[in-house]
């Protein structure tokens, strides 16, 4: 039987690419518009493109936080992508201080604009593994260090605890968390659904964890 992958639709971001990536991997993407529907899926993904306060406003107005927490408590795998990953943290500082879902302790901060690099950061970047973490039993289990992924963002996450940083990426002199994890909760700042075969491999790994 095909794995049901819930993709939370809070009216921000491109759900289509993500759905098609999961279809390509022989899973069954389910667009989740109501919190109740979360109970029906095997894996839950929070996508998103846009600003942190707008995203959290839509998530809260549609009463998703409680259902997301209940889902995670069942031990099933949860993954946030781009803004979806940022909203997993406790706090964001885009426009104003906004509370996030608090699934991982830490905050979301603006990329420095003082480097020669351009913000928004729209580019392919390498990811590397911090020494203290292991990629076994994670979405990066089948990923080689130094692989390239596609990023589109102006903010980055800063987890409070090092063990939650699954992968890091350099942006000028800054090294930011490009993937995060805590138990059965994962996140990538980059877009696996737009990163060619290496990106698809991460989503495929999520299906088999």
């Amino acid at each position: 039987m095909k794995i049901n992958v819930g993709i939370i639709d809070y009216k921000m971001g491109n759900l289509l690419s993500l759905s098609r990536a999961f279809m390509h991997l022989n899973a069954n993407p389910v667009i989740i518009e109501k919190p109740d529907d979360i109970k029906l899926v095997d894996i839950l993904v929070l996508p998103g493109v846009g600003a942190f306060p707008d995203g959290m406003k839509m998530i809260n107005e549609n009463h998703f936080p409680g259902a997301i927490n209940d889902f995670i408590k069942t031990g099933k795998n949860f993954m946030g992508i781009c803004l979806g990953m940022q909203m997993m943290l406790s706090k964001g500082y885009e426009h104003k201080e906004t509370s996030g879902l608090g699934l991982i302790e830490g905050s979301v901060r603006p990329l420095p604009n003082d480097t020669e690099l351009k913000v928004p950061n729209i580019n392919w970047h390498d990811i590397s593994k911090p020494e203290i973490v292991s990629w076994d039993h994670s979405i990066l289990k089948n990923t080689k260090e130094g692989s390239n992924f596609y990023f589109v963002h102006s903010f980055y996450t800063e987890p409070e605890f090092k063990e939650n940083i699954l992968a890091e990426t350099h942006f000028g002199s800054l090294k930011f968390a490009s993937a995060v994890k805590k138990d059965n909760v994962f996140g990538t700042q980059f877009h696996p659904e737009k990163s060619g075969n290496k990106g698809l491999r991460i989503l495929e790994t999520l299906l088999t964890l």
Partner: protein, 253 residues
């Protein structure tokens, strides 16, 4: 990392290619098959330009976008005949990640801010068609290089950046479709005046042209004819780029 972008000009449901953005010829084969091959070869992005979008309805373009996103998993930019926020919404809903706007950005530059505010500057690409006049000054053309203006290319590039463009697609109309090499002078002028990424387009014939564009300050190069007619391919371009020390994305199949 520097990007290799495959550019596909579309008319109806067919792939076309012209010279100086005119004199279009149809290529044999399904545009989606061309696209799939470029993706498999390691294209970092796909760019569709609907060359005659204003004259025909958009259903075939949307169909091409939809089919593309079923098996191509890199960013997709779509341009041609985009005039309103509604057009942008439609194209993004069909599966595109970014839109490229040319004519409307010249006629009513406010569209750039409107799109950037609503969807983010990361999906607002301004397409600049540049042509040298008899005095050697680069001027803006529009409407698939049929209409001429007296607007200075560098001034226009600075203006679109201020209005919120996330990227510039810079096409040299003089070089376009000729295979005579990239216009390094034009690329240098625009990249020195702006901070946003510039995609250089027009005249690519061989892998060494990639270095010409990158040395000129481009972040990416969009290639059409040289790929469609198999004068070169993305694997060869990337192999060359690496050999001369340009950082590019590595894919694996």
């Amino acid at each position: 990392m520097k990007r290799v972008i495959a550019r596909l000009d579309i008319k109806g449901n067919r792939l076309i290619k012209g010279v100086h953005l005119e004199g279009w010829r149809f290529l044999t084969g399904d545009p989606n098959d061309f696209c799939k091959k470029y993706y498999t070869d390691g294209a970092d992005e796909i760019l569709y330009v609907d060359a005659v979008a204003s004259l025909y309805n958009r259903d075939s373009l949307k169909d091409i976008i939809r089919k593309t996103t079923e098996n191509v998993f890199v960013p997709l930019t779509v341009g041609g005949g985009i005039r309103t926020i509604e057009d942008v919404t439609e194209i993004l809903r069909s599966g595109a990640d970014k839109v490229a706007i040319c004519t409307q950005a010249v006629k009513t530059p406010e569209i750039i801010s409107k799109v950037a505010d609503k969807f983010g500057s990361q999906c607002m690409v301004v397409s600049i068609q540049a042509k040298k006049d008899q005095n050697g000054n680069y001027k803006i053309w529009y409407d698939v290089a049929r209409e001429k203006t007296e607007i200075n290319v560098v001034e226009f590039a600075i203006k679109v950046e201020e209005l919120g463009a996330g990227e510039i697609l810079l096409t040299s109309v003089d070089q376009e479709g000729t295979g005579k090499g990239m216009d390094a002078e034009l690329i240098k002028m625009v990249t020195e005046a702006t901070k946003i990424p510039v995609i250089a387009c027009g005249g690519f014939a061989q892998p060494s042209d990639f270095k010409v564009a990158i040395d000129g300050g481009a972040d990416a190069v969009a290639i059409a004819k040289a790929l469609h007619y198999q004068q070169t391919n993305i694997l060869a371009i990337k192999e060359y780029a690496e050999s001369v020390g340009i950082k590019i994305r590595q894919d694996e199949n």
